[in-house]
Symmetry: C2
Subunit: 387 residues, 2 copies
C-alpha cells in the first residue's frame, strides 16, 4: 500500500492496464516535424470554420440559455431528429434502429463496451485502430485477431474461430479501415451478419469515414434484420473533431441502455448538439461528402504514386479514408526514431496489431499537403535505403 | 440467449444494473409543471449568453481550425493554465496537485471510479447525489452509508466503520451538499484527511457549488498533504452546464492515469475548452461568485421562510447551493404523484439514500423564481394537510 504518490496502491484492472496510445504519443511530436504523415485529424483546410461560427451565433441567439443547460441522456431531440434525417445519406434508414447521440465515436465505443462486456471474448480485424480497441480490450478477457486483406476481414478465419470459441462481439471498421485503408466488400458484409445470427454474437461497426467516402458498399448495419449490429459514426471527419459529437444506431434495448449509461458521464455538450443540428438542418454536412471524398482521394493517389515511384510497394491500395499501411520490412520503431531526426512523422503500427506488425507503418494523408506527402515519402525512402 | 431485441443477452454487470436516475425521471416532467422545485440546472437568468457567444466568436476568429481539432488527453494546455490560475479562487493552489480537464464533474467521477475501483468498498454520506454515486456504485462491491448532520459527514461513524471494514474510497460533497444543502465544518475536513492517512483510503471531493458560494471553509483538498484527496469541480453552476467542462486536481500519478483513461472516450470538446479558457482569461467567471452566491442565497432564504411559515420545519437549513432536503413524514413517491397533478415538481429523495429516506423530498431553488418557490411550498403544504 503506497499513499503519497498513489503508486502501488490498489487500482482497478483498467487503471493498471491503460497505456499511452501510439497516436497520442506521435501527436506529441507533431509540432516539431516537417512532414506529418501521422495525423488522424481531418485536413485543417477542410474545416468550415465560418459555417460553424454561424451556427454557434444562430443557436445562441435563437435559444439563449436553453442551449446551455444539461444535456438530456441519449441526445437532444432536435439533433436526434436531424441525424435520423441524415441516415439515408449513410445508407441507413430510421427503421434500422434508434439513434443515441454520443461525444464522438470513441465515446460511443466506450459506452457499448461498458454495456456489453465483462470478461467476454471479442474478435477484431488484425490490425485495428488501437484507440477504439482500448476500451473493448480493457473489458474483455481476450481479443482474437482475424486477418484482414484487400477486401476486409477474413470471413473464413472468423468462421473457424467462432466455431471453436464463444465470441460475444466482433469489432470491425469495415469502410476505409484504420490503419489498413481497405474496405470490406458487400459479400463479406452479408456473410458477417449471417454469422452473427448463427453464432449469436454482436457486431460493433465503427464507420467514421463513410461521410467522406463515395462508392462504398452499404453499412454492415444495412443488412442486419435482427438488431445484432451496433452502428457507430461521427461528424469528426466530415465536419470537425472539436465539437465531440457522434452517434450510435442500435436496437431499442441497447439504445435505451446506452442512454442510461450516459447519465454516468453526461459528457456531450448541449450547445454543440444544437450547433450540429443546425448544420445538418442547413445541409452543410450533406453537401461536403463529394468534395471531401475527392479532396482526400487525390492526396491518397499522390501517396500511392509516390510510394510506387520509390519502389515501396508492400501495401493494399486504400479505397478511401486517411490511412495506408506500409510494410517497411524493418522494425518500424527504429525507423520512426530515425525518421523523426529527419523531420518525418508517421505512426509505428505495431500497437495496432494483436499479433505481428513489427515492421508496419501507418501513413496518413489527412493533414498532410502535397509537398509533405511527396517529400515525406522520399525521406522515408532514403532512410530505408540507408538504415 | 436472446437476440432480436438484445433482452436476456449476456451483458455486463454495469449493463444490468444501470437505472434511470430520479433526477432525469423528474426532468422528463419538467415541461408540464407550474412550479419546478426539481431542477439542478443553474437559473437560466444567470447564464451569461452574450459573454459565452463573444468567446466562441473570439476563439473561432483567432484560432480557426486549430480550435476544432481533437482534444489532447488531459485537456488543452491553454485551459489547464487558466484553471491553475483560477485555483486560488477555490481555496487551492497550483502546488496542491495536477489539473486534468474533463467533460464536467460527472465525467470526472466516472474516470476516477474507473481508475480506482474494482469491487472495492466505498463509504459515502447518506444521502448523497445519486447520479454521481452511480458510476462509483457500479464499480464497487458495497457503498457504506455514513450519517450526515448539519455539519457534514459523521466523522465518528466513519471512524467506527473504517475500523471494521477496509474502505478504499470516501465519496463526499462537503460544500453545499446535494441533496442535503449542508456544508462540512472545517474541523471535520481536517479529521477526514487525517483518517484517510491513518486508514489508507482516498477521498473523492465533489465540489461543484463552491464557485457560487461565499463564506465556506476551504476544500478538504486544501488540508491534504499526501495526495489522498482527489478534487473534482465544474463550471456548470457558475457559468453554464451546456459546455460540459469540469476538472480534477489530483496527485501526479492519478492525474496521469486519468489523462490516459480520457483516450478511451475523448469526450471533452476542444472548442469549448478554448472558450472556457477565454472566459477565465477575461475574468468573466471569477467575477460572478459574489453575485451568484447572493442570488441563490436570497432564493434559499425565501424557501426556508416559506417552509417555516407553513410549519414545514423538518430540515437542516442549507448554507449554500441549490438544495434543501425536507422530511415530508409521508411517502415521498406518493406525494410526488399528487404534487404533479397540481403542477408541482420536486425530486422524491429515496434514491439519494443508501438506507432509509422514504419520506424525504429534495427541493431546489436553482431554476425556480420567487413565485414558484412561494406557491410551490403552499401547494405542498395543502397536499400534506390533505394527503
Amino acid at each position: 500500500m503506497g499513499g503519497s504518490t498513489g503508486e502501488g496502491y490498489l487500482v482497478s484492472r483498467i487503471g493498471k492496464e491503460i497505456e499511452l496510445s501510439p497516436v497520442e504519443m506521435a501527436s506529441r511530436h507533431s509540432t516539431h516535424v516537417n512532414y506529418n504523415l501521422a495525423s488522424g485529424s481531418p485536413d485543417p483546410v477542410t474545416i468550415p470554420v465560418d459555417e460553424i461560427r454561424r451556427s454557434y451565433n444562430t443557436v445562441l441567439e435563437e435559444m439563449g440559455p436553453k442551449a446551455l443547460g444539461y444535456p438530456g441522456a441519449g441526445g437532444q431531440a432536435a439533433l436526434v431528429k436531424e441525424i435520423e434525417r441524415f441516415l439515408p445519406h449513410l445508407g441507413l434508414n430510421k427503421s434500422d434502429g434508434k439513434v443515441v447521440v454520443t461525444s464522438g465515436a470513441q465515446h460511443a465505443i466506450e459506452l457499448v463496451s461498458k454495456y456489453l462486456l465483462e470478461g467476454d471474448v471479442v474478435a477484431s480485424e488484425n490490425p485495428t485502430f488501437v484507440e477504439t480497441l482500448s476500451p473493448i480490450k480493457l473489458r474483455s478477457s481476450a481479443v482474437l485477431p482475424v486477418s484482414l486483406d484487400g477486401e476486409g476481414i477474413s470471413i473464413e478465419e472468423l468462421d473457424t474461430l467462432s466455431k471453436m470459441v464463444k465470441i460475444s462481439l466482433v469489432y470491425t471498421i469495415p469502410t476505409c479501415h484504420n490503419p489498413a485503408g481497405v474496405t470490406m466488400c458487400e459479400e463479406r458484409r452479408k456473410a458477417l451478419v449471417e454469422m452473427a445470427e448463427q453464432r449469436d454474437f454482436y457486431v460493433l461497426e465503427d464507420d467514421p469515414y463513410r461521410p467522406i467516402a463515395t462508392n462504398v458498399p452499404p453499412p454492415v448495419k444495412a443488412f442486419d434484420k435482427s438488431g445484432r449490429v451496433i452502428y457507430v459514426s461521427s461528424f469528426s471527419k466530415v465536419l470537425a473533431p472539436g465539437l465531440r459529437v457522434g452517434f450510435v444506431v442500435a436496437n431499442e434495448v441497447i439504445a435505451e441502455k446506452l442512454s442510461l449509461l450516459e447519465q454516468n458521464d453526461f459528457s456531450t455538450s448541449t450547445l454543440n448538439q444544437y450547433v450540429l443540428a443546425d448544420l445538418l438542418k442547413r445541409e452543410v454536412i450533406q453537401d461536403r461528402t463529394e468534395r471531401l471524398s475527392s479532396h482526400y482521394r487525390k492526396k491518397m493517389e499522390l501517396l500511392v504514386d509516390s510510394l510506387e515511384e520509390n519502389s515501396l510497394t508492400d501495401f493494399h491500395s486504400p479505397s478511401c479514408g486517411f490511412f495506408l499501411l506500409l510494410n517497411l520490412h524493418l522494425n518500424s520503431n527504429y525507423v520512426f526514431q530515425r525518421a523523426l531526426e529527419r523531420g518525418l512523422l508517421f505512426v509505428p503500427a505495431k500497437p495496432f496489431f494483436l499479433r505481428g506488425g513489427e515492421t508496419f507503418a501507418r501513413l496518413s494523408i489527412a493533414a498532410a499537403n502535397e509537398k509533405d506527402i511527396v517529400q515525406g515519402v522520399s525521406t522515408l525512402k532514403r532512410l530505408l535505403a540507408d538504415p
